[in-house]
């Protein structure tokens, strides 16, 4: 291991990358604290104010941002809950038994991860108008399965597969039923995996933009679309946009920091374990 980079140079390179990585977020925070009349005249020296947050959260620009925030919460939690209820048994089944069609189902689910969203959304846009699901929570929770279900099934399958079947067999010998063995033995053992995958699925659902952009208009609209709408209109409202953007990234960032350890397996759909 001779002729390596000297330590300080490597550290300097790292710091350079992290400045690139963190500065935009810091700058957004600065912009959001600017008073409207100093928006164009200064860059770093100004009298900070929370006016932008008051305006955004008060909804006085005609954009009910707090409701959008609530909508994001409802549809993301709904989508994750549905994915868990449906996905956990499927993940368990495909990890424990080799049965006809299981690989087909798994790869169909995986292909959702890589399908261009609009292939499904444009027909759904037409379909939802007819069915009355356009701009509803139900419609959003349904379509978000495209994001959350493959994640839950693939990651939980890798967790169940890592679990030795002998534990459940021992439980069966002790007189447990298969169902009991699943709920009382297998499920508690993969609890950290379930927690991590739920949070990751929540973040992805929360961050989604194209579904609410096309399939909602006002009632079920979410923060990602809401934040962008501050950029529309005649007069630029840059400080409000910054405040809205900052508010909308708080939940995913907080959750992400709690699941650091599980991210590798989560982000690679179980393909890479750490």
């Amino acid at each position: 291991m001779r002729k390596r980079l000297p330590g300080w140079l490597a550290d300097a390179a790292l710091i350079l990358y992290f400045v690139f990585s963190l500065f935009p977020v810091a700058w957004m925070a600065i912009l959001s604290l600017k008073p409207a009349n100093q928006l164009f005249s200064t860059y770093f020296s100004f009298t900070p104010t929370l006016d932008a947050y008051r305006t955004v959260l008060g909804g006085s620009e005609g954009i009910p941002f707090v409701r959008f925030f609530g909508n994001s919460l409802v549809v993301s939690v709904g989508a994750v809950a549905l994915s868990l209820v449906v996905g956990l048994p499927a993940a368990y089944a495909s990890a424990r038994w080799r049965f006809k069609g299981s690989e087909h189902l798994m790869f169909t689910l995986l292909s959702f991860r890589f399908a261009p969203e609009l292939t499904v959304i444009i027909p759904l846009f037409v379909l939802y108008q007819k069915l009355g699901l356009f701009d509803t929570y139900t419609g959003m929770v349904w379509v978000l399965q495209l994001v959350t279900l493959p994640l839950v099934v693939w990651i939980m399958r890798s967790y169940f597969a890592d679990l030795s079947p002998e534990l459940e067999q021992a439980a069966l010998l002790d007189g447990y039923s298969r169902t009991q063995a699943f709920f009382k033995v297998a499920l508690p053992l993969v609890k950290p995996g379930i927690a991590a995958v739920s949070l990751l699925a929540f973040i992805f659902a929360w961050n989604n933009f194209v579904f609410p952009l096309i399939l909602t208009s006002h009632e079920a609209q979410t923060v990602t679309v809401g934040a962008l709408s501050f950029l529309g209109g005649d007069r630029p409202k840059y400080h409000l946009t910054a405040a809205a953007a900052l508010v909308s990234v708080v939940p995913p960032l907080l959750l992400a920091l709690t699941i650091q350890r599980y991210l590798v397996r989560g982000l690679s759909f179980g393909a890479v374990k750490s």
Partner: protein, 292 residues
């Protein structure tokens, strides 16, 4: 009997949900055979006419070209930068250990929000980037107002968001490499570059390739970043395929024609996935030989 039925019962709910998502896909495929639009709610069968129209349109080939440039540029830059960051973090200096904790940040920000942030930063009047560049004599750069600038800016946002993705997977790979080949190389007095090229890179490559596959296929279907940053402009310079499909289907309400675009893109992504996954299998076998 019960024993053989059980796995099927467990997957039934997921199967139903999957069908619920496949149905609109199938419906979309069916729509492309008609000339369905808001102006023509009672469509006629036109068979392959939509696809013929897609492939003979200059706009399609322009979009396809822009999409490829974007995907190759973004995935390439993220791979190089992400692996470099991972190698630097792997040295685990004190600075590295602190920075590693916040590596994930941009990746957890919604891409559309990231694009909004960068749009504000690159904005000519309030934007901070030109202000910071001014001392270097680079003040008035028109970032998103020139065709090349708009494409490069979009790629830059993609790189900002997704480099941590590559870095995290590469770092996990580096930490799981077996120690013995490196010890042997050190005993033999192998230099850093030799060790990196002959040992680290081939053994790390399967991990990196997983990341590259995810990134390349995701950037083929990029939408959020470009929608928020440039809306496809200026002119047609950043109209990638999903943006084109959106404009046709939602803005101009030519549903059938717009869906045809997404079907073509879907076929491209599917093909790319098949090729890359097969390649991944080969690479994994090769890496196993090096470490074994």
């Amino acid at each position: 009997m019960r024993r053989t039925l059980r796995p099927y019962l467990l997957v039934v709910p997921a199967l139903l949900l999957t069908c619920g998502i496949l149905y609109p896909f199938g419906l979309g495929l069916y729509y492309t055979l008609f000339d369905f639009s808001a102006a023509k709610p009672q469509p006629d069968l036109v068979r392959w006419e939509n696809y013929r129209a897609v492939f003979t349109q200059d706009a399609f080939w322009n979009s396809a070209w822009v999409t490829v440039l974007y995907a190759v540029g973004a995935a390439g830059a993220e791979t190089v930068l992400g692996v470099s960051v991972a190698l630097l973090l792997h040295r685990s200096s004190r600075v590295g250990r602190i920075l590693e904790k916040i590596l994930i940040l941009p990746l957890m920000i919604a891409p559309v929000i990231a694009a909004i942030i960068w749009k504000l930063m690159l904005q000519p009047s309030v934007g901070v980037v030109n202000h910071l560049l001014e001392p270097f004599g680079l003040g008035g750069v028109q970032w998103t107002d020139t065709p090349t600038g708009a494409l490069l800016s979009s790629i830059a946002v993609d790189v900002w968001v997704y480099t941590p993705f590559v870095a995290i997977l590469a770092l996990a790979g580096l930490r799981s490499l077996p120690a013995s080949p490196f010890e042997a190389a050190a005993v033999d007095g192998a230099g850093w570059w030799y060790t990196f090229r002959r040992l680290t890179l081939p053994m790390l490559w399967p991990y990196v390739l997983v990341a590259v596959i995810f990134r390349f296929m995701d950037s083929l279907k990029v939408f959020d970043i470009i929608y928020a940053l440039t809306e496809g402009g200026p002119g047609d310079s950043t109209v990638v395929l999903q943006i084109r499909a959106y404009l046709e289907a939602i803005r101009f309400q030519r549903y059938s024609f717009g869906i045809s675009y997404t079907i073509v893109l879907w076929a491209v992504v599917y093909l790319a996935a098949t090729v890359l996954v097969r390649h991944l299998g080969r690479i994994q076998r090769k890496a196993a030989e090096v470490s074994g």
